[in-house]
Symmetry: C2
Subunit: 232 residues, 2 copies
DNA sequence: CCGAGCCGGAAACCCAGTTCTCATCGGACG
DNA sequence: CGTCCGATGAGAACTGGGTTTCCGGCTCGG
């Protein structure tokens, strides 16, 4: 607990010896090495998911692509599942950052919410190519996200946290401004919005009928969600 | 084409001989036998999905449970995937029938639509136990449905047809009555509704915040979808 | 009664995830 | 600078599950 950063305090505490410092220093380099290795695996994973377009990638492919060995893979990940989970968490984190930046361009609470939904809808739509060279996945990860939601609700909930907290904030602001209905708790509202937006692409598949253009789809969806399906 | 039902017409056509009739008769009994076998596999599959609560069932389990052999399984199904697909189609068909009956209890177009959404939401909610002894699955099949939507959009679209046609009908009626907005094609509207309703349970998982009671969830969802998230 | 097709049983094959073994390498320490 | 130890690479081996195949017995129509 108190030894989080041993190098920051002088060795007055007899429980922190030079040995401890040495160990800590050693661990630091080890950690750095480990991080680059983990990163290499993750990068390889993203590349494969992006190119192959699915989460049905093989561990061997990831290993080959990363130029490392199976041995190392299993040293850093408890299994394929944990690897995909790490990939997913990384993705959510990255997506949340990206959306945060885009939302920041808007001034009004209503606009910010609208921007969030439209942009996230874009990202989750199939055919959306990653813009940044690395670490940006396609909609393929939505598949794994859904699988995760059914098989491991606990981990899934945690993985979505970055996106959730961002959206809850936007929803709270919008509610405070009187833009959103307030008879549903903001957290629950955000959950429904996230789910609905993320998996809306499936609606096109089910119905076999798409919007006029791909870009219209996002706006159309926003209007449906914001105004409802009823006529008033 | 013209020989769909050979037993219905006398053998005037020289291309339809007694041999053909015999073959047809033989095929009839064979068909009956085959149907009972297929049914046994499907029943076993439903039981496993219901009890085990997931689509990660093993072919061996299905075979054992059905009291038949692996040999037979692969005689009737091209593989595990086709079996799950058959299971899913059967499920959608059954669900559509059930909903059709329930919707039939309502008179007004608006009420019928409302009933459809609420009841379907109930069915797709985890924890909903099958009421009829057999052939009624839990929400576990939604997982496979989603997987199907990503990996085989064509088959998925076809599998959802029974539900879609029922819902499209309801939507068309509601639009004609002026209850629904008409700026979105009914087919597309139905697709969005179906997707949103079916996977709404995931919203609870993502947000970690449920409605007051399980039954409230369905009504709450309906209001969100019908009136939208905005305040007017 | 005969032959064709169907079926149960079981072995075998293949693929992918996982584990294990062993040789090697590189930094830490004395 | 030499030794030691943990991390790593290379790849074989194991495992579980889907898939295929083969054999022999059965039924059913003719």
């Amino acid at each position: 607990m108190a030894t989080n950063n041993p190098t920051a305090e002088p060795p007055v505490d007899p429980t922190i010896s030079r040995l401890d410092l040495a160990v800590a220093r050693s661990l630091d380099t080890a950690r750095a090495r480990a991080e680059t290795r983990v990163k290499r695996f993750l990068d390889a994973g993203f590349e494969l998911v992006n190119s192959h377009g699915g989460t049905d990638i093989t561990v061997q492919d990831v290993v080959d692509r990363s130029g490392q060995s199976l041995r190392s893979f299993y040293q850093y990940f408890a299994g394929k599942y944990e690897f995909l989970l790490a990939l997913f968490e990384e993705l959510v984190r990255f997506t949340a950052e990206q959306l945060q930046a885009q939302v920041g361009e808007e001034d009004q609470a209503a606009d910010r919410l609208h921007r969030f939904v439209v942009e996230y809808h874009r990202l989750c739509r199939p055919g959306t190519k990653p813009r940044t060279p690395r670490r940006v996945p396609t909609s393929a990860m939505a598949e794994f996200g859904q699988q995760l939601l059914t098989t491991h609700p606990k981990e899934a909930s945690k993985a979505f946290a970055p996106l959730m907290s961002l959206l809850v904030e936007l929803v709270d602001d919008a509610m405070a401004q009187g833009v959103l209905r307030t008879d549903v708790p903001s957290r629950r509202m955000a959950g429904v919005m996230l789910q609905s937006t993320m998996f809306n692409a499936f609606a096109t598949t089910i119905s076999g009928s798409a919007a006029k253009s791909a870009d219209d789809a996002s706006e159309e969806f926003w209007h449906l969600m914001f105004e409802g399906i009823g006529s008033f």
